[in-house]
Symmetry: D2
Subunit: 344 residues, 4 copies
């Protein structure tokens, strides 16, 4: 058993870490911190956890106590991991950051999008982008993981096979994404109220969203050069789930796209390439650490359409974080992540 | 007061016609037909109508009785209007068809997509496509209207200004559309159950959907030549609403897109071009005969993104049908269609 | 045309007043106030109103301007109407208060439940409880109306016929009520988030809710003496609607309950007694100023079950407020309130 | 490892058995039958199961093959278990029936409510009602289990401590229950469509529901004599979950109700008595085999209100069935049932 800590545990990715870790055979939660809820029992905030973690209470973030953990998850707003990660790493505790703090390799780009200077540029070199389908081996050796964002996970997994194979025009990528409302976090904001967000659909951030540079960076790696990406996220009236609908322009000789995807992900435990003609539903991954993908070529034309679905809180956040942990500590990749999705 | 009939009144577009016509100052509903529910009071099937139409019962479709109406709406599956429209027109009754029967000018294309021969090709010449923003004057003179489909309404209104002005590449149009479940009608099908369709998002018909030829025909008219369109509809967990997210590649000198849209729709009572930077929500048109549109140009690049929302049952069906009726009979265009959307 | 003002117009009852008044033939909205949004166009906050009220902006509450109105609606938290009503009445403006400020005749009981002294006890004598089905004639003569709460409207209309006729034991009344989330207002609170409140059901205030004394007061009037009431409200995952399920113990000779209800409400334009065996759905009144009621006597036993549904924002708030206005100014009772419910 | 079969596996309780059994350490699914879907891969119907049970296909119900299982679950409409259970028992296969076939001890009462003769009255004597909180020891010895219905589970667990202790009047029990739509099964029926059932609330079966005699039988056992129960179920716009709100009239000396409930369920792994003042939410048990209960006594009066929530597909069906299996085969009671609920 290893000991883990969770910093900023009151949000949705925090409770999801606890839910998943409750079934993990090798992990014990040592501490969970929250400035606002310090002292409160975890199960009081999240009654679904009653009967699990009954002794666990939110505590003030105390680096000394966190440093007694083998690994610490950051489920925090941006900036917090910047401030704490260095000290923990120095004390020998590995860091798995679910926030955006270490996702973008260029501190200047980060600063532009987040409106503040990067707080730990000295750590960027060793931070590994925790998309196991791309960086598995580096993750195994890493002390500091930047867990990908939810949209970036779905969009990258959908485009990667095409870009790596050089089959689509990298200048004309379109990602039309639909997310459930937990993507906006647990903050009390009027637009996230049931009375406002249910029975409605809307785009947001059509002129620019913070996940854009992260996605562009990953796609550029795959394409071997800059990409042109239009990314439009939409707020969908459901709790969980992301549906990414991706459009690319095929170059001359595309070949068998289904086979391409199946081969690319053949050995991946958490990517499911569905049969030809499928339309994956977000509910088919609810609660599970999976990305299901289908690839279409309407009317056999030169536009390829990729449909990729994930649970934004699992494969898009907490599940993927645990996958990284499993890789870092040499556990089975599926430990704690094997349960099927819940449906209906 | 004119008298109208409704053929096939048990579906959602039927009850929506009744809801809207209840506030129409010049229309009286003379007959509503349904083979399966003949004899049943309308308010028994639709308790929201109790207190309105209390004497109205579904009746067997009887051409003689229908011919006593000034106009007849068809809210039927495809094929029914083919069979009845000719006789009604001959007897002097105008026909407003909400089905797909007369939307496509080429009977062969229709037959390909609907898997059966066109049942009334001799009427195609005089059928007018009932998109008032394009064909207002012809509608005024017409006896036979093909009310546009829901997706086609949103997609055409969003692309029209750009195509008419020749500002985007007509070969590279993408329409990513999200629809509430009433778009699938009132049929008892497992995928439309709340337990299946709520808390989930999925694409469907990614390889080809029956609205595709209709949209292509309308866009080609606007572009003055064939267009290349990728159209991917999605099932969204809500009752009403369509959100069309449209992508086009701008040609060199695009100019002020906001101004273009505002001018194109300046005098249209049912198209609302929202301010720069807006993200229209489908709920902002719930129950109302409106299309709200916003136009974006992310990072000032060469991709234009148009966001267009309608209520699929109103501007996408029954409301637009009544708008056509108003034009045909010289009523005010907004008669019966003036109430604001209901929100929240 | 009369001029009306709305104080506190940013909440759900405020926008609902605007939506309904847009179709009212005799009312013009002169002013709508909000301290927090002063200066903002109404249609910017509520895009469903674009095209209506385009000149109307939220303004600071200014008694002088409000006093130029013939009537002022208060759609405010408790306490606000206490402070302003007196001055307006003195200047000849009638007041229709949608808050709880004047609903309870006993200032001491009010103070107990609201945790502060009553701010205008001198007005209590002339305040009329605006339930037209009980106080129609007094409302016509009144200057100051306390519009009933949403739960109280449904519970009273359901129990009244039985209590007035002395058919049930007044000491054993149970009201199990289910409300959509707009009942909690537009405040940004975590439990009202879509991610928290959808896909779930819970009771709240089982040990005591502020609507309890109001309901008890109304039922006691009907019963001619104190009543014993257990009232348990529940939060339901929907935007609008209240479903009240009411249980009473019948005394010996109950007679024909259906007939009793039908006679009690025969002339009421906004109460619909449904046929024997009905189960009213909240959606059958969505957006409409209606209470639909069904009465059951399971297994012909001595328990009577009354099912009553309203739209909490219409018959439970803004619609009923307009009904009161219509009575006070001698308009037709259904002016502005005639449109059918929207369904589906 | 034991081998189990599932008869009638295409419904929601069938897929839920598969989801839960995927995490069971001692169970292997040998066969799953469906006449209508014979030949289809399970994961084709339920894509959430892709990656689990990949070899498993629906098969025609074949008693010989089923008899090779150690136990067979019936997830069928009523009548099917009547026909097959006897043969399986004879061949040494234990039967766990999730349908209503063996829940009611009196074959005549069964016939009255189900409108057909009881098909296996000779088995009634040995059928054990599978509510472990009442019949744990008998279940351990049993070959034939009647798994309780969803409403009956919640209502009985809520009332039992009060009735067993003789604290409430058994003639005046009221159970106001709210269920998600999966309670109605996976049948394609118009009232279960998202477009019909969402954004609405309604009662049904107010004059009598098939779960009534089952509940009455269980409550009578606890009370030691006949009970008078009014039971009103409601359809709630959510997928899963039952919220039972129970009302009883306390006799003179009630004592500490919280303590009573805590003691009654102290050793129960799947009943959670929440702290004083709690309001359990159905989402707090989503996907988990739990009943959470809170007990209230409003204004310290003589009415007791019990709030009990379950997931209708888990503690109300498939989870409870597995709990029974665990007891019958001497496994740990929580095997396969230990994962926390999923929230949000």
């Amino acid at each position: 058993m290893i000991k883990v800590g969770i910093v900023g545990g009151t949000g949705y990715t925090g409770v999801e870490l606890l839910r998943l870790l409750a079934s993990h055979p090798h992990v014990e939660v040592e501490a969970i911190t929250s400035r606002s809820e310090a002292g409160l029992a975890v199960s009081e905030l999240y009654p679904n956890l009653r009967g699990h973690y009954d002794e666990l209470r939110f505590s003030e973030p105390d680096p000394a106590r966190l440093a007694r953990c083998d690994a610490v998850f950051f489920a925090t707003p941006h900036g917090v991991a910047h401030a704490l990660a260095g000290e923990l790493l120095e004390r020998g505790t590995r860091v798995i950051d679910l926030s955006a703090d270490f996702r973008i390799r260029d501190a200047g780009i980060w600063a532009d999008w987040y409106g503040q200077p990067h707080g730990a540029p000295e750590l960027l070199d060793e931070a590994i982008y925790g998309l196991p389908e791309v960086h598995r081996e580096k993750i195994r050796q890493s002390r500091l993981i930047a867990v990908p964002g939810c949209y970036p996970t779905a969009v990258q997994l959908g485009f990667l096979p095409l870009l790596e194979a050089g089959l689509i025009d990298p200048d004309r990528l379109i990602a039309d994404c639909k997310s459930g409302v937990t993507g906006a976090g647990r903050g009390a904001k009027v637009p996230s109220l049931l009375a406002e967000a249910s029975e409605s659909m809307k785009a947001y951030g059509a002129s620019g969203h913070r996940h854009l540079p992260e996605i562009r960076q990953g796609l550029a790696d795959a394409a071997g050069g800059e990409v042109g990406l239009t990314f439009v996220p939409h707020l969908t009236p459901m709790i969980r789930g992301i549906h990414a609908t991706l459009y690319g322009q095929l170059k001359a000789d595309a070949g068998d796209l289904q086979q391409l995807f199946e081969e690319r992900y053949r050995d991946e435990p958490f990517v499911d390439v569905m049969p030809v003609g499928s339309h994956p539903e977000t509910r088919s991954v609810k609660g599970a650490n999976l990305c299901r993908i289908a690839v279409h070529r309407p009317a056999n034309g030169d536009t390829v359409v990729v449909l990729a679905v994930i649970d934004n809180l699992v494969k898009g956040a907490s599940g993927q974080a645990i996958h990284n942990l499993n890789l870092m500590f040499g556990f089975n990749e599926t430990d704690g992540l094997a349960a099927p999705a819940i449906m209906p």
